[in-house]
Symmetry: C2
Subunit: 105 residues, 2 copies
DNA sequence: TAAGTACCCTACCCTAAGGTAAGTACTTGT
DNA sequence: ACAAGTACTTACCTTAGGGTAGGGTACTTA
């Protein structure tokens, strides 16, 4: 690995632009291996606004991290799951968590 | 591991508050295993302003990720190195980079 | 009949992260 | 004499990420 110039196109910057948002990893980590409905997700992530959750979910769907399944039911039912690419981030996020625990953040 | 409530004190949030900044990981990755002077660091990280680099370096020193050594010379000479805790982040960052490469970000 | 649930959308606003640019002090090179 | 390199500081300004708050639909339950 010989990345030593951090220009605008380096993979670290590019990746952080996508997963570096305030809520991105939180959402991905909460979905995790399960299938979860919008409402439950919202309750899990304390402090997030509906606007943020919706827009981030849409963003993550567009980028291919999250899969969305809407049911034509009343009341509405929407289920979110991680795609394979999304799941690839889980070990990464777990490492961040482990780091935080180890250093008592 | 049973973290399923993402409240304000969860280790993921806490850690991201520290290493989730726009430049944090870039700086840590650039310092890497070497000893590097301020000027060279600045040249490495394309696009960063002096203000940001200085303030982030100070922040990272305060948090214990980076070690700073000033020489009482003229012209000034300052060397930065990662602490052990800082170095612990390198495999994490490398994973992010690998993720970006794998998915062609 | 009114309130509640579920999954959103939209308009407006605000703050803080970050960008710009200039200045400082001291020395060496031309 | 003047620019250039070194490691910063400071003042000011911009912007976009995110917060607030309200609306909307179609149904169910009290």
């Amino acid at each position: 690995m010989n990345i030593n110039i951090s220009d605008e196109s380096c993979p670290l910057r590019k990746t952080l632009e996508i997963i570096g948002g305030k809520w991105t990893m939180l959402i991905i980590f909460q979905i995790n291996e399960r299938t979860i409905r919008y409402g439950e997700l919202k309750r899990c992530i304390v402090g997030i606004s509906e606007k943020m959750l919706i827009s981030q979910l849409k963003f993550l769907c567009d980028k291919g991290f999250v899969h969305k399944k809407s049911f034509a039911e009343i009341p509405p039912k929407v289920e979110y799951t991680l795609t394979d690419m999304g799941k690839e981030l889980l070990p990464l996020i777990n490492q961040i968590i482990q780091f935080g625990i180890n250093h008592k953040f």
